[in-house]
């Protein structure tokens, strides 16, 4: 079963088997050794559970993993953690620096703390869950990824977002969804301001179902899909029209 269809309970269960996991201590081994070991995994890997200790803000932890393994990172990471993830279930038990999960293809990434700017940028698939807050440019240019943020997101989030879903339980900063295409944005709290061509839209039954499904996948309890407002594209800036010049 590909990791991106694993439920929260299944993910937790796989993480509970950590006694059997392969432990990689970054205070003893280099980051390159870790990433090379992960890249050597072939389909049907025997080592399905990995644990990374002492990341201490390291950059590029567990980038480019393309097998359905689970990776628990114990501590906070720097830039580009779990970038290009394709199928792995990666959990950071700490906070993440800029660009976490950049260009994720499939799988899941859970950040137990906060995420810095451009979390999930250009992501094409999979699920990124941020249990704390995300800062500016969350989901910038997203292309199919689903992002669930338990807290708030910063300014310019979902800028030029093309497809996928961004679900925010808290508030959104300035210029949400500026120049957005067909991504769907769902915000439960206050939106500081909407960007160019981004408008509030009606929550239809299919959106309630979609949001509920994402909340369930992200392990969110006690929050109802009906508490969210939907935002998306007014579709006025797709093609240049001189009458809309002021909006660019």
């Amino acid at each position: 079963m590909p990791a991106n269809t694993m439920s929260k309970a299944e993910r937790d269960q796989s993480h509970a088997h950590s006694q059997a996991s392969r432990v990689f201590d970054l205070s003893q081994h280099s980051l390159r050794e870790l990433n090379e070991a992960l890249h050597k995994l072939t389909p049907g890997p025997n080592e399905t559970a990995w644990e990374v200790l002492n990341p201490k803000g390291s950059h590029s932890v567990a980038v480019g993993v393309d097998q359905p393994v689970s990776i628990d990172v114990r501590g906070s990471v720097g830039y580009y953690c779990a970038g290009m993830n394709d199928g792995a279930a990666i959990t950071v038990h700490g906070s993440a620096g800029p660009g976490v999960g950049e260009n994720m293809m499939s799988g899941s990434i859970v950040i137990k703390g906060d995420a810095s700017q451009y979390a999930g940028a250009t992501g094409r698939g999979g699920l990124l869950v941020i249990e704390g807050n995300a800062s500016s440019r969350c989901g910038i240019s997203m292309k199919g990824i689903d992002i669930v943020v338990h807290g708030n997101i910063g300014h310019m989030s979902a800028f030029m977002a093309q497809s996928g879903n961004l679900v925010v339980l808290g508030d959104a900063g300035d210029a949400l969804g500026d120049s957005i295409y067909e991504a769907r944005l769902f915000v439960r709290g206050k939106v500081e301001s909407l960007g160019a061509d981004c408008i509030a839209k009606e929550m239809r039954p299919e959106h309630l179902e979609l949001v509920q499904g994402l909340l369930d996948k992200a392990g969110v309890i006690g929050v109802k899909a009906s508490e969210f407002k939907r935002y998306g594209s007014a579709r006025k800036l797709y093609n240049f029209n001189i009458d809309n010049a002021d909006a660019y």
Partner: protein
């Protein structure tokens, strides 16, 4: 890129370790900027002594006999403590301006890094590790300090182009980013009496803050002014005699992480810089908001 750090101690027990802690923070960010590095450390001001940190390309000849010659020229006691290419000149607070003028005549090659009652500034071309070793920064004590490792974009890689920049007594600033209206702002500040040593954009930001504080603003108000008056990308970390401040431009693309415990407030361009601080695992760690001024004072 560039990497910046700052550390403001609340717990006096950590003061003997300030230099070591700040050095560790700066060295951890070496790959954000290999061109040059600098550090400003604030010791406790005694009120009856001022310090001028100077640098010379020929320290052997320039610093030899300087104490006696300068004492004679200004008519006050002077001590000179040499550290590699830098020296800290100590004299009475009322003689600082006279001493600066006298230095121009006595030692025309000497460049002034900064002056005040509390601050000492050390900066040179090279990696943070080399700069920290050269000036034995790890052994320094103090109440707060800031540091910078530079990847140059706006002006040449020289000692004078390294950060921190100091443009007022006990004031200094480090910067990650680049300013686009620095030439205009420099002209405005020159008209208002500010003096500049370089063509560097960051020096303009430092002088802007010094100028506003000279006009009666406090550190927080001066930092607030950068948001409307300076154009470009910036994360600034600023030190004053008893304070420490942080501000990011509204776009906030230059990274910043802060941590606070009962013992200290710390700033780093990245979390990596904070990982060796005591109690960091239980610290409050957050990313400073865009266009928001943070400052602490003793």
């Amino acid at each position: 890129m560039c990497g910046i750090v700052g550390l403001f101690l609340k717990d006096k027990a950590l003061e003997p370790k300030l230099g070591a802690m700040l050095s560790e923070m700066l060295v951890s960010l070496s790959d954000r900027g290999p061109d040059s590095a600098g550090i400003a450390i604030y010791g406790a001001a005694t009120g009856n002594e001022a310090k001028i940190t100077v640098q010379s390309p020929k320290p052997d000849s320039d610093f030899r006999g300087l104490d006696a010659e300068l004492a004679k020229a200004i008519g006050a006691p002077v001590s000179v403590a040499v550290k590699s290419t830098h020296a800290v000149i100590r004299t009475t607070p009322d003689k600082v301006d006279t001493a600066r003028e006298a230095l121009q005549t006595l030692r025309p090659n000497i460049r002034i890094m900064g002056a005040g009652e509390a601050v000492e500034i050390y900066k040179e071309v090279g990696l943070p590790e080399a700069v920290v070793d050269r000036f034995d920064v790890r052994s320094m004590t103090g109440t707060h300090g800031i540091g910078h490792t530079r990847m140059a974009t706006e002006s040449a890689v020289t000692t004078m182009g390294a950060h921190p920049f100091s443009t007022g007594a006990d004031q200094c600033l480090v910067h990650n980013g680049s300013l686009s209206n620095h030439n205009n702002m420099r002209r405005e500040l020159i008209r208002d009496g500010m003096k500049f040593e370089t063509e560097n954009d960051t020096e303009v930001a430092a002088a802007y803050l010094s100028n506003r504080m000279a006009h009666g603003k406090n550190l927080g108000e001066a930092l607030e002014g950068t948001l409307s008056d300076l154009d470009g990308f910036f994360t600034f970390v600023v030190g004053t005699k008893n304070g420490f401040g942080v501000v990011r431009d509204p776009i906030a693309c230059k990274p910043a992480v802060m941590a606070e415990t009962d013992q200290y407030v710390a700033f780093g361009s990245e979390y990596r810089a904070l990982t060796k601080l005591p109690g960091i695992d239980n610290a409050r760690v957050w990313e400073p908001e865009p266009a928001t001024v943070y400052f602490w004072e003793h």
